[in-house]
Symmetry: C2
Subunit: 512 residues, 2 copies
């Protein structure tokens, strides 16, 4: 057993059995050790941003960490944007970052850099295994750290010599921290405040949006409490049979309008809402002026338990309202996000996972699918586009029996377009829908909101991605994913129905 064996055994012993990888020379011992640990499934990604995004998707669905395998500082950096998103989703991930042999670092060879410094901003735990016998125990520590509470990404730096030298120990069983129980006094105080309020609003963060949290929030809705979720949540249980909270709008002024009249906001596993961006003369904090603020629980607490405790204290019914299955009628004519959302709601089977990186198209689809079959919706939690395709990869690996739907803008899709190859390679049951509007549409909206006025020729050139037009069918097929282009609502509906009926990789370019 060498250090790499100790690492992989420790990971597998603790249920970390998926590895999204793009290795290099310094990771060859890890790669070789994979041949000796059949429990670990390794999945090659042609760019590290695909690997880290996939690990995020896996963690959100599996509820346990995957590991990534990354090549020194540059490999980590390539994956850092999707780790930023993962950090904001509180997803457990164990990043294994290969490094030069410990004695080789001081020579500052070309690939040398300060990996720990690069990793620090996105990691809740960073350590380097300086000898083979520390690899296993540190792997166990990394797993514990990744689980949270709440979860996040841990970074284990693995010098080449720590991997290739003989190891005498592995890490054993890692402690998996349990979320804290709700605080009874806080629950009682919040119950009191809710009773006293005329128009209380509950705001749910990611930790409160899984099936149990949504169900518990539904009980409070049955009492007339308004329930909203954060604009972007890691994973939200939605559709048939579930309670449907509203989503806090993205634009601050719309959010404040939505909250107008609320006299109490109760935060559940989240913090006081703020605008995604600042704009001249618009507020940063999205709490109405005379609205009180209470926190039912922080992110470290079992939010479903807290919500149920609050519901019990308020003598709420055992269950709240449940969405029926009521898809919109078949769309016709012009192809737009509303029409596409209707088709999705009509055809997607129960237990579909939706990975949303559709930017401006996201909200119409979200709205249209509110009464679709039961599904999970994964949002872009950190705002770093290029998450849609990678997240879908990880979700599909975590739940091979489910349909996974990646919704991506064309601009966002190009960020991690290499992910299509991994979908083909692994023959994942992923359908990618590209919203090909040939423009960074959100930026056209944001330009004027930031007070920058209308776009002249130079500015327009930085918002337009339509010259040349990207042929998504060619790009997708070139990476092994069968694809088609549709430009009417009817054609999309038919293509999407077919994709849902079949199994395996598929891309639909929605020409908007």
């Amino acid at each position: 057993m060498n250090g790499a064996d100790a690492l992989i055994t420790t990971l597998a012993d603790n249920g970390v059995t998926a590895c999204f990888a793009n290795p290099g020379t310094s990771e060859m011992q890890f790669v070789s050790a994979l041949d000796r640990e059949p429990r670990m499934r390794s999945i090659l990604c042609l760019f590290e941003g695909v690997a880290t995004g996939a690990a995020d998707g896996y963690g959100r669905i599996a509820g346990k960490p995957a590991c990534t395998l990354l090549h020194l500082g540059p490999g980590y950096a390539n994956g850092a944007a999707n780790l930023h998103n993962a950090r904001r989703a509180f997803t457990p991930i164990v990043n294994v970052v290969g490094d030069h042999a410990t004695y080789h670092r001081d020579f500052d060879a070309p690939l040398n850099s300060d990996i720990a410094a690069l990793a620090a901003p996105n990691s809740l735990w960073v350590k380097s295994a300086e000898c083979a016998d520390s690899v296993g125990p540190l792997a166990a520590e990394a797993i514990t750290a990744a689980y949270g509470t709440p979860g996040g990404n841990a970074c284990l730096i693995l010098p080449a010599d720590a991997a290739w030298n003989a190891a005498s120990v592995h890490g054993g069983v890692a402690e998996i921290p349990a979320p804290a129980a709700p605080d009874a006094e806080t629950v009682a105080a919040v119950a009191h405040a809710v009773k006293a309020a005329k128009a209380p609003v509950l705001l749910l963060g990611s930790g409160a949006c899984r099936e149990d949290g949504i169900a518990a929030a539904g009980r409070l809705a049955a009492l007339g409490v308004r329930v909203l979720t954060d604009t972007f949540t890691a994973r939200q249980a939605r559709g048939e049979g579930r309670f449907r909270p509203d989503k806090l709008p993205y634009f601050g002024e719309q959010a404040l309008k939505e909250l107008d009249g609320a006299d109490l906001m109760v935060l559940v596993a989240t913090e006081r809402p703020v605008a995604f961006f600042a704009y001249p003369d618009r507020p940063s904090v999205l709490v109405p002026e005379h609205c009180g603020l209470e926190t039912l629980c922080g992110r470290e607490v079992d939010a479903a338990a807290a919500l149920n405790a609050l519901a019990d204290a308020l003598e709420a019914p055992a269950a709240g309202p449940a969405e029926p299955y009521a898809p919109p009628p078949a769309p016709a004519g012009k192809l737009d996000a509303w029409a596409i959302g209707a088709s999705i709601a009509r055809h997607m089977p129960a237990d579909t996972v939706i990975s949303d990186d559709a930017v401006t198209a996201g909200l119409p689809i979200f709205t249209q699918t509110r009464a679709a079959r039961a599904h999970d919706w994964l949002s872009l939690t950190g705002g770093a586009i290029g998450q849609g395709i990678p997240l879908a990869i990880g979700a599909a690996v975590a739940r091979p029996d489910a349909k996974v739907l990646a919704l991506t803008g064309d601009g966002a899709g190009m960020y991690t377009v290499q992910g299509l190859w991994t979908i083909a390679r692994e023959q994942l049951d992923v359908v990618v829908v590209v919203f090909a509007n040939h423009v960074y549409r959100i930026l056209g909206i944001e330009l004027s909101r930031t007070g920058a006025g209308a776009a002249g020729p130079a500015a327009s050139k930085l918002l337009d991605i339509g010259d040349p037009r990207i042929d998504w069918v060619a790009v997708s097929q070139g990476m092994g994913v069968p694809a088609q282009r549709v430009d009417t609502a009817e054609a999309f509906d038919e293509a999407f129905a077919q994709a849902m009926a079949a199994k395996g990789p598929r891309l639909i370019e929605a020409a908007l």
Copy 2:
């Protein structure tokens, strides 16, 4: 004038007139200000790694910085791997990274992160403009910092409010530091040591490999001094009419064999050579045991002047040997890197710029083009693959009259494949040659060298990228770059000759 205007005016006043950009909401003021500054050429890249790699290529060829425009921490992180390469190339670059408005940061909105911490490992200067009136002066400071000596990448963080608020000053003319003059005493001492040595070797770093440095090194070669360059240099003047030094081999044992018998190594704008990676039981330092070590000059010194001073002290002739134009004969039969190198040497016009991200194919091409027309060769200085296509973009923008050739492995090419779109968008005169061997070939070699043994099924799966095979013609055409696939030496020779005779974007998939 707002802060964004002050920034762009300061940049343009100092000759920074190319901006490789992928902006977001927080950069909209900068985007808008582009309409008011016609001197600035902005070039949209669909991923930040393309933007930073292009800025590196621009800086290497133009000898002055381009700027990038990046979107907060994740945008910077996406560009960090190619900035790692740029750091190792000592390329002047001014990275402008948009940030939340200063007063908005503390609310920790989803895109918030510690940009300065992310940028620190790759930057020689990081500052944030906390108010509009600091933007211009800090831009001038960033330009001075980027120039060096030696150059590097500077990171100016631009909060949204510093960009949109009114500014009363811009930055004026930045100081451009001149490289230090060679130290006469050191030159005399090194001359003495060279005279005393039986087998002296000169090792040239990036700063000594431009046309003037290579010419000066040639004078010393005329005296019988062995001249080598670092394995990877930022930009090397080569081909017809130039002196041809040898390259220090990549693998340590080959490097030591090459240096066998040398009793003096003189370092010119570089440091003692070390192995690219550590391997069990192989040395890290690539200096033979009884070889003396002298430093003619550090990277802060005008290396050509130092070499000429040394040549004068040794009474070398005014000029060294010059390579004739002597391309290899037309290749025939099996298509491999040697055949491709022959075609490149035969057909590429004078003043071509070659961006090399060809990994295992790079050395054969380098060897075959030693007596080609005069050209510049840009190497992968930092080992972070995915540089080839982006670097070519920047080189083509810096020198629109030259042919630019991007040599890329298929694995490396997929990293920043989005760069093809920018080549098409800007109609750059770039020919991309993809070495499609469907495998991370270097890793197959490295696996056994690290003592990891032969690859079993799981390990092999992480080295092989041939399932599915990437259809580079489809991918390239899908992004707007005309492409063809060739699989014989004759077909490549013909395709390459045609590409050299034509102008504009082109991709050739060399099916190996």
